[in-house]
């Protein structure tokens, strides 16, 4: 379970996350949506203790992430898929992560198999396509067999087969009773994957409700249209139109 309470992150240039509160329950996929620049990645970085909040706090299984001694056993995260050293192989990338948390060598082979990366295990990261990097990122997230998974835009760069694979994987992980938080800026993709929806815009909470309820209340319009209406007040810019109104 992930709990975000009154979380705010202000930078010199403005506010990325603004008094945000929501809870991510286990046993279902929670879609974390918002237009580009809405604060999704910042929120995830705050949950993982990578950034320090200006105020408020976030906990994973009731504890701040930074207080976990071997966090990979509890939380698996996929951030930027490109966060790889170009001359390090897939297997060595997983090996240093495993060593850091006392995870056995055998588990590396298992996650390589599970993500379809076994054949590329000995190849250097610079030879990987974006899709392969995403798969390696998922492998890294699964390494400690964690009960909580946080995936930032995992669908980016995947081919259609990869998209179906990650969709089924997330559903399976949730069905196993795990907590799954997946961010995306694609509403249609989330409608196929998530059972619960958290939408933010300009760092503020806009929607926190079951996917079915959201779909029912926007049945007249297409999903992307509903999403655009919802977030229209909070996008940074939009081609062809000037911004009208400002929520702040």
């Amino acid at each position: 379970m992930i709990e975000v309470s009154n979380l705010s992150k202000r930078y010199r240039g403005g506010t990325a996350v603004d008094d945000l509160s929501f809870t991510v329950e286990p046993g279902r996929v929670t879609g974390f949506l918002g237009p580009n620049g809405a604060g999704k990645s910042t929120t995830i970085r705050l949950i993982l203790g990578l950034d320090r909040p200006t105020s408020g706090h976030a906990t994973v299984n009731g504890r701040p992430y930074a207080s976990l001694a071997r966090p990979l056993h509890e939380v698996g995260a996929l951030l930027e898929a490109g966060d790889l050293h170009p001359t390090r192989t897939a297997r060595e990338h997983l090996r240093w992560l495993a060593r850091s948390n006392g995870i056995g060598e055998r588990r590396i082979g298992e996650v390589l198999e599970e993500t379809g990366m076994a054949g590329a295990a000995g190849k250097r990261a610079k030879t990987f396509s974006l899709g392969m990097k995403q798969r390696l990122g998922v492998a890294a997230a699964l390494l400690g067999d964690p009960g909580v998974l946080i995936l930032d835009e995992p669908v980016n760069g995947l081919d259609p087969e990869g998209v179906v694979w990650i969709r089924n994987l997330m559903k399976r992980l949730a069905a196993e009773g795990r907590t799954v938080l997946v961010s995306s800026h694609l509403m249609a993709e989330m409608a196929l994957t998530a059972q619960h929806l958290v939408v933010i815009g300009r760092g503020r909470l806009l929607v926190d409700e079951p996917m079915e309820k959201f779909l029912a209340s926007h049945s007249g319009a297409s999903l992307e249209e509903a999403f655009m209406t919802l977030t229209s007040e909070s996008v940074d810019y939009r081609s062809g139109t000037s911004r009208t109104g400002n929520t702040r």
């Binding site: 970085r45 930074a66 939380v75 930027e80 966060d83 050293h85």
Partner: protein, 251 residues
């Protein structure tokens, strides 16, 4: 294994699994031995005055730039490639990650320098004939020990500075000209020598037989082990600053 041991084990995998490690450390070893052969051949030159220790460190002081590059890149690549995020997610205790990283970089340099330094000295000794220094003389042991410590600490110093700059390029751009180039050339100008002689690249010069206290041109106002002591202080200061930066900053 302790949490710090696990973090260090992970850092060791990181260091050995990238190509640049093997490349830089091999180039360091090959060039160091090559310089030893070259300088050993001109031992009669007035600068060395037949001092095989001085001749040994002449080459190593140039090739240490390669070691520093290795140390800086080991830290800087975490920031340039973005793996620092995964590192901090895996080891959220910033102090532990910092300690593990500095220890592993320092250890990798230390185990590389010792055999190379001894081999370089052996080559120079072999060329020196009856001018060869005694291997078991305290002066020899002191100088080789001090040189080993000095080269290793310079690399830890540089690695800690890289945590502050979070950039390989910036660190090298600052350290190489200020410390290594101007330090060695301009450091002997009377006007600035009183200050420059305390720079981290300069304080090991006495123990490495590159200068002697009181020498009118290259002299220092401190002795061999005081110089090493000053380098320990520089390194401790850089480690303190790096640790603070790592604790305070967002990843």
């Amino acid at each position: 294994m302790s949490a710090l041991g696990q973090a260090a084990s992970a850092e060791w995998v990181k260091v050995r699994s990238v190509r640049s490690t093997a490349v830089t450390l091999t180039v360091f070893a090959v060039l160091s031995l090559g310089f030893a052969r070259l300088v050993g051949g001109s031992l009669e030159d007035s600068f060395y005055g037949g001092d095989t220790l001085s001749a040994t460190f002449m080459g190593l002081l140039i090739t240490q730039l390669i070691l520093v590059t290795f140390a800086v890149a080991s830290v800087g690549s975490e920031y340039s490639t973005g793996t620092i995020r995964a590192s901090l997610a895996a080891v959220p205790s910033r102090g532990r990650l910092f300690a593990a990283k500095m220890t592993v970089v320092g250890a990798a340099v230390a185990v590389t320098v010792l055999p190379v330094e001894l081999a370089a000295f052996a080559i120079v000794q072999g060329l020196a004939g009856d001018k060869a220094a005694g291997w078991t003389d305290w002066e020899t042991i002191e100088s080789l020990l001090g040189g080993w410590i000095s080269l290793t600490l310079m690399c830890v110093f540089a690695a800690a500075i890289t945590v502050l700059t979070r950039s390989t390029v910036w660190t090298l751009a600052i350290l190489l000209p200020i410390l290594f180039l101007s330090g060695q050339g301009l450091g002997n100008l009377d006007a600035i020598r009183p200050v420059i002689q305390y720079f981290p690249d300069q304080v090991g010069m006495v123990i490495m037989h590159m200068t002697i206290p009181g020498d009118p041109t290259f002299g220092r106002d401190y002795g061999a082990w005081t110089g090493i002591g000053i380098l320990v202080l520089w390194t401790a200061a850089a480690l303190g600053a790096g640790w603070l930066a790592m604790r305070r900053r967002d990843a």
